[in-house]
């Protein structure tokens, strides 16, 4: 893989919430139109890595570059989807209004949204297959539909980079499959990076796997083998073999 201008670049990044480091000496790049998954054990630093990319937290040492600059300066080019479990499930808001909040930062400061904002929001809803549901209350949607609405919200800003935190958490397998297929299609147009706790499942869909457990190793998904997984999760992990499309050879 030759990335001329990486979309994401981390150089010697250390980060810790207190004295101990959550991430240590992180170096990697993600290229344009990549479809990457950040995987690793709980507490290994997956969400922390995502927050660094968003500029929500600052590294203690090293540099985080998104589109060759600091994350703050390109926030409007990043589409972000948080875990939906942290949202108030009873909040009185309809689907279109949720998606429209993705237009903030692009639309005018005061007053109602423009017609072009509504068009972009409807286009995003169409893309995730929820065009018919725009006036439904967000609270009445199923888990999978909510995830799709939040993806549409991220898409409504017409981003160049899409970051998603556990987009398939608490979904059944068929819905997960559909969602990954949607993200794979999107990755032909924008760079997609997601956080997942499920390394085996996700490696079927993504091109690149970013393994995080304090340190970071990047694999192309075809190359991910048992040795890499054991290094990620520790010696105690038991591997269950599942079907692979290609031969497993480690770089």
């Amino acid at each position: 893989m030759n990335h001329v201008e990486p979309v994401i670049r981390m150089d010697g990044v250390d980060f810790g919430y207190d004295e101990s480091l959550v991430l240590e000496n992180v170096n990697f790049t993600i290229g344009e139109r990549d479809f990457a998954s950040i995987v690793g054990p709980n507490g290994g630093g997956k969400t922390t890595l995502l927050k660094l990319m968003l500029g929500l937290i600052e590294p203690r040492r090293g540099q985080v570059c998104i589109f060759q600059t600091s994350p703050h300066r390109v926030r409007t080019r990043i589409g972000y989807m948080p875990q939906h479990s942290q949202l108030d499930p009873k909040f009185p808001v309809c689907v279109l209004d949720v998606v429209l909040t993705g237009r903030l930062g692009i639309t005018r400061t005061i007053g109602p949204y423009r017609a072009s904002d509504k068009a972009a929001a409807r286009q995003a809803l169409h893309e995730v297959g929820l065009a018919e549901q725009e006036s439904r209350p967000f609270s009445t949607l199923s888990g999978g539909q909510r995830q799709r609405v939040l993806i549409a919200r991220a898409l409504a800003s017409q981003p160049d980079l899409l970051l998603l935190d556990e987009p398939t958490a608490n979904l059944d397998l068929r819905v997960q499959d559909d969602l990954y297929e949607l993200l794979r299609q999107l990755s032909t147009r924008v760079t997609v990076v997601l956080v997942s706790h499920d390394v085996g499942f996700v490696s079927k869909f993504v091109k690149t796997v970013v393994c995080v457990n304090r340190s970071v190793h990047v694999h192309s998904s075809g190359d991910l083998d048992s040795e890499a997984i054991i290094r990620l999760y520790g010696r105690d992990v038991r591997l269950l073999h599942h079907e692979h499309d290609g031969p497993c050879t480690h770089r």
Partner: protein
């Protein structure tokens, strides 16, 4: 009830009371919706109780030193906005101490008010009307001030509707869209403070929190969007204030307390219907 309607045509003071209730309901519906969805009822509670400090100080200056520039309602507005900013800034800077500050502002505001009232010659009646409101004693001057506050609060609340919605629904996402989340949070607290001042005239310091939250919470049971929740909360609040006034008039009950009991009954009914 028919007695109330007859009296309404006869007495201008009663017409002013109804007008005050209706005007206050508009601010109450719009800002109450934000307060309920953003879950800042207790901040609103602290702000309303701290208003006593401003009321007491303004009344003291008026009676003892002859200041006429600062009306009690003006003093209330200053105290309310000041408390809102203190709570807001502290909660943004040090999140874990927010509840302590809310409690402190709540009690200190009242203490300051009681000290000023104790040193003001005159009747203790003042204190009772501040605490429990007296919508029947609204003056023409009060009504104009309420109209101004209403316009300010409702216009700001609606002009920045998109921003407030984003901040209330998902603060982190709003921040990432480049919205100055902290600014809008403080703005929302200030609008809440001004709404509290309007409502203090209607139901008094102690009962404000119920009128601010119960109509909005009732509307929230069945509203699909925030805008509709605001419209319904306003309508319900108009019903509460006017209905409370009408019910209390015949038997000579305190109007504020009647409104709150009515509001609670309607909220309870809504819980049973849309559970």
């Amino acid at each position: 009830m028919s007695e109330f309607i007859r009296a309404l045509f006869e007495h201008p003071f009663l017409q002013m009371s109804v007008a005050t209730g209706v005007l206050a309901s508009v601010a109450c519906g719009v800002i109450g919706t934000y307060v309920v969805t953003r879950r800042i009822s207790y901040i609103a509670g602290a702000i309303s109780h701290s208003v006593l400090g401003g009321l007491g100080a303004a009344r003291y200056l008026e009676v003892v030193h002859g200041w006429t520039l600062l009306t009690p309602l003006g003093g209330a507005a200053i105290a309310a906005v000041l408390s809102a900013l203190i709570i807001g800034v502290v909660s943004l800077r040090a999140k874990q101490r927010e509840d302590t500050v809310i409690g402190a502002i709540w009690a200190v505001g009242m203490a300051v008010g009681i000290l000023f009232i104790a040193k003001t010659p005159g009747y203790d009646k003042d204190l009772m009307s501040y605490l429990f409101g007296n919508i029947l004693l609204v003056t023409q001057e009060d009504l104009w001030l309420i109209v101004c506050l209403d316009l300010l609060v409702v216009a700001t609340g609606l002009l920045f509707y998109n921003k407030f919605l984003a901040v209330c629904f998902d603060e982190e996402f709003a921040r990432l869209r480049g919205i100055r989340v902290d600014f809008y949070y403080l703005l929302l607290l200030c609008l809440t403070a001004l709404t509290v001042v309007v409502l203090v005239r209607v139901v008094g310091i102690i009962l404000v929190i119920a009128l601010l939250t119960l109509p909005a919470a009732t509307a929230g049971q069945f509203s699909r969007t925030m805008l509709r929740m605001m419209a319904w909360a306003t309508a319900i609040c108009i019903f509460m204030t006017t209905g409370g006034l009408a019910l209390s008039y015949g038997p000579g009950l305190p109007a504020g307390a009647t409104m709150i009991v009515l509001a609670a009954a309607v909220y309870l009914a809504s819980l049973l219907i849309w559970r």
